[in-house]
């Protein structure tokens, strides 16, 4: 075998090795494991339901709530301002669609804790440091925001502010979730992300 053939065979073999490597390398974690671990175990990556309630009441434009539950659960009960990205869809598709705007803090929530925490590590691992979780998910929201009651004789200014935020957020939650199904579906549909629309450009 002459040298040209030998080189060709070598290059073909190496190309074959490269071809066998996974193709979705563009969606591999970019952080170092130790750094990512300390990042996601830090308290700063979580918001309490009270903090989230405040964002909602203030209609804070720098916050985007991402509901990871299945669409049928989201249609039944949704936190005002949230968009629905079911967890399997979140993992399967390009997260840049939802997390690409670095000026927005994305807060994941679900029924409980597991899926938002997976999503948090996944997103931060891919380099989206604007990702957070709402502690306790919808269950904690129901417990803390919806069941809040004032029972004492006196209330401090701070307690009053907290109670008012919870009451207002609770009202917004109830208003949204008591809309007739047709209106609610339209409202939630309008809040759904569309990759096509987000591609940008004027028509």
């Amino acid at each position: 075998m002459n040298i040209r053939k030998k080189i060709s065979v070598l290059l073909l073999l190496l190309s074959l090795i490269l071809a066998l490597l996974p193709l979705s390398a563009n969606r591999s974690f970019v952080e170092r494991p130790d750094r990512l671990l300390s990042d996601v175990l830090d308290e700063d990556v979580s918001f309490t339901v009270d903090q989230v309630a405040e964002f909602i009441v203030r209609e804070d434009p720098s916050v985007q709530l991402i509901d990871l539950r299945p669409p049928e659960d989201f249609r039944k009960q949704a936190v005002p301002g949230a968009v629905n990205v079911p967890y399997p869809e979140f993992i399967k598709s390009d997260p840049d669609i939802w997390l690409g705007n670095s000026n927005i803090r994305n807060i994941f929530y679900s029924t409980g804790d597991l899926e938002p925490d997976y999503a948090l590590v996944y997103a931060r691992g891919l380099g989206y440091d604007n990702s957070y979780v709402m502690e306790g998910g919808i269950a904690e929201w129901e417990r803390t925001i919806m069941q809040t009651r004032f029972t004492g004789d006196r209330i401090t200014a701070r307690e009053n502010a907290l109670f008012e935020t919870r009451r207002r957020a609770g009202e917004m939650y109830t208003e949204l979730n008591s809309l007739p199904d047709s209106l609610k579906s339209k409202f939630l549909e309008s809040r759904k992300f569309s990759a096509k629309k987000l591609d940008g450009g004027c028509e």
Partner: protein, 140 residues
Amino acid sequence: MKYLKHYWLVVTIFLIVVLFVLFRSFSRHDFRYDAARWAGPSVTGTNIITEEQISALRGEILLISLGNQAAAIDQLHDKTMKVNPESILEKGTLSVIRKNKGPVILFSDDSSVTARVWMVLSEMGMQNLYILHDEENRVY
């Protein structure tokens, strides 16, 4: 040989790139390629296991307590490690996990910590890795 002399620079660069890619792909100290694939069990829920299901697992079972629940579980299983979540990536701990010939089960009194540690380890290429939860669907 004369062709090699002509193309030595191209071939060298190509070989360096190949070696770099191979190292990056199969390095055991870093994250693996294809994040979605390694997150797969969290989508299907096959990474969640109950105490009853543990006995059906094959191989040497390693239980890792990431909190203070070890006492309740280690009565049932001999091989239980108590690890601070922040230290799970230390060389010694990783070596024990990797050398274990069987399933590795994580549990903690804080389900968030367990889920986060599971995802980090899984993305590092660890398979046969589970999260323990009890019958009331409460994750340890």
